[in-house]
Amino acid sequence: MVKRLLAGWKVRLGVTLFAFFCLLAVFGPWITQHLLHQSPTALDLNAVSSPPSAKHPLGTTASGQDVMAQLISGARESMLAGLVASVLGTSIAVIVGVTAGLAGGVVDSALTGLTNVFLTMPGFALIFVISGYTHGGGPVVIGIIIGLFGWAGGTRALRAQAMSLRSREFVLAMRMLGESRWRLAMVEVLPHLIGWISAMFLGGFVGGVLAESGLAFLGVSDPSTVSWGIMISDSQQGNALISGMWWWFAPPGLCIALLGASVALINFGVDEISNPRLRGASRALVKRAQEARRSKEAAHAR
């Protein structure tokens, strides 16, 4: 499956980009400290609002912080928020969705009701309200809140899938054989949902990163940390664009976009696996088909 996933250029590009950002998140602080000899929070009073230079490859902020160092250490914070939100959100979605789909009856009704309540609530606004009070809150706290309020969307699809699986023959057979429901869910049903779950996880990850940056833009952030969202927010409040400080405003947004793009590209591959009908639509196949046709036409013309 992994091999199939990696077959397309889109997925390969996505995975490469994503891996790059993961490395940045893991080794970022080490890189800034030992390779760049910079701190993301240190203020260099001799170089306030300075454009890119040898000392500050991406320039400095209005208070003299090194943008490059902020960008690198921001990777960890932003991705951590995305990861926590995604893991939590996907877990809740899987637990609620699969349980509802498999259990049916009263349990299903109750869980579906719960899901619908969460769907109806003004998600982002509530996240904004709550995280505003959590003392700024680091990326983990923000991620948890995003996850807690953002799971409902995916649950619905999982429930439908689990329901359709429930009536499939092999699951019915297992039930007849007296398999416990728990084992049934873990061994028989979950593997079939892996495509859905991974797509949901990836979507949740990007959603988490975007939500974190949106919250930072609204002023919900922990001042002792630096995330990409906080960087954009700071640069906006520091009038970076009007003062022509593009080196402060542009990089964090581009990084989020690139990270999102990498995940979106991976998602293309995951989608093609979970929906076989999409596979025929791949560019490589169509190209080959067109070539074959053309050569036939050429032969015909002769």
Binding site: A7, G280, A284, L285, V286, R288, A289, Q290, A292, R293, S295, K296, E297, A299, H300, R302
Partner: protein, 352 residues
């Protein structure tokens, strides 16, 4: 040449259709040749995966990527004394001129073949008015009612959505639809698989009656050989993308030559004869991604011999029918030609 004969409606030569995949490709139809005369019903029988559905879409030039026609020609002689055309060489635009007016299709599942969000009448109307721009709405409606009456449906059913109709009604409606523009050739892809036996009989009777009345030719594809015997004038048997035997319905049924035809015949109960013991064909159809060398049927063949896994048999006349089996005239050409040679020959034919 049969194509020069005005009585020949369709002359397929060396038709090869491949499914292009990431690595290599699969030949779903391999060097298929046959002819259909005007007003004739040609049955094509084969197991699932034998390439008969691919043949249907290729015949009507409806194949979609990754399926590609890579060789052969389909000479079609439309009515009204028009010159014969090679469908393979036509553009989509040119094809549109022929579609439905000259050739129509009936698909396997009428439930899926009808647009679920359009009323039945609208699905008649759009095709009628597409091919006759002068037709008014009222006239199109009138014509729809006539067509539905042809297959025994009431005019009221034109106002229904497909899901509101029973399976048999839907299937009859698609047949009526196929006749809407007076096509010379109607290609039918297992139109009776989704309906019960009683309905199956009604539909077949309908087709025969309408053919006699309107004179169209039919290419009828099914896995059910005994059904073809009732319906078809001639029958072609397909196996692993190739035609292994062609002959009159009577000959195929009563004197099958190819071991596969024999096996196929033995696995279906006859419609009108006393029930006899049924037997299936051991084994399963080959994986076309890795076709067996030589005759594709040889791993399952009860009468195989050494040459069978080395030589691809060609379709050659044996008595009244044509058979592609080394049992007939095997000695002459054993081991002389591989599949490459066959293709070269096909290309030569095209080149003329």
């Amino acid at each position: 040449m049969p194509a020069d004969d005005p009585g020949t409606l369709l002359d397929v030569r060396g038709l090869t259709v491949e499914y292009v995949a990431q690595q290599g490709s699969v030949r779903a139809c391999d060097d298929v040749s046959f002819t259909v005369r005007r007003g004739e019903i040609l049955g094509v029988a084969g197991e699932s995966g034998s390439g008969k559905s691919t043949l249907i879409t290729a015949l009507t030039r409806l194949e979609r990527p990754p399926a590609v026609t890579t060789a052969g020609e389909i000479l079609f002689r439309p009515g009204g004394g028009r010159a014969p055309v090679d469908l393979v060489g036509l553009t989509e635009r040119e094809l549109r001129g022929l579609r439905w007016r000259d050739m129509a299709i009936v698909l396997q599942s009428a439930m899926n073949a009808l647009n679920p969000v359009m009323r039945l009448g609208a699905q008649f109307r759009d095709v009628l008015r597409e091919h006759d721009r002068t037709l008014s709405r009222q006239d199109a409606h009138k014509r729809t009612e006539d067509l539905l009456a042809l297959v025994g449906l009431t005019p009221l059913q034109a106002n229904r959505y497909p899901h509101e109709l029973s399976g048999g009604t839907r299937q009859r409606a698609t047949i009526a639809l196929a006749l809407a523009c007076g096509a010379d050739l109607v290609v039918m892809d297992e139109p009776t698989t989704a309906v019960d036996v009683v309905m199956q009989r009604q539909i077949l009777a309908n087709v025969l009656r309408l053919r006699d009345r309107l004179g169209f030719a039919v290419v009828f594809v099914t896995h059910d050989l005994s059904l073809l015997v009732e319906l078809a004038d001639r029958i072609a048997i397909m196996y692993a993308g190739r035609i292994v035997e062609v002959g009159s319905a009577f000959d195929i049924y009563h004197h099958p030559r190819h071991p596969y035809t024999e096996g196929l015949r033995a696995s279906f109960p006859p419609l009108r004869e006393p029930v006899r013991r049924l037997s299936g064909i051991p084994g399963s159809p080959p994986d076309l991604r890795q076709p067996p060398p030589g005759c594709a049927f040889h791993p399952r063949c009860p009468r195989r011999f050494e040459a069978c896994d080395g030589t691809v048999p060609e379709l050659r006349p044996v008595g009244e029918q044509s058979v592609a089996c080394l049992l007939y005239g095997a000695g002459e050409r054993a081991g002389s030609r591989g599949p490459e040679g066959v293709r070269e020959e096909a290309d030569d034919v095209v080149g003329h």
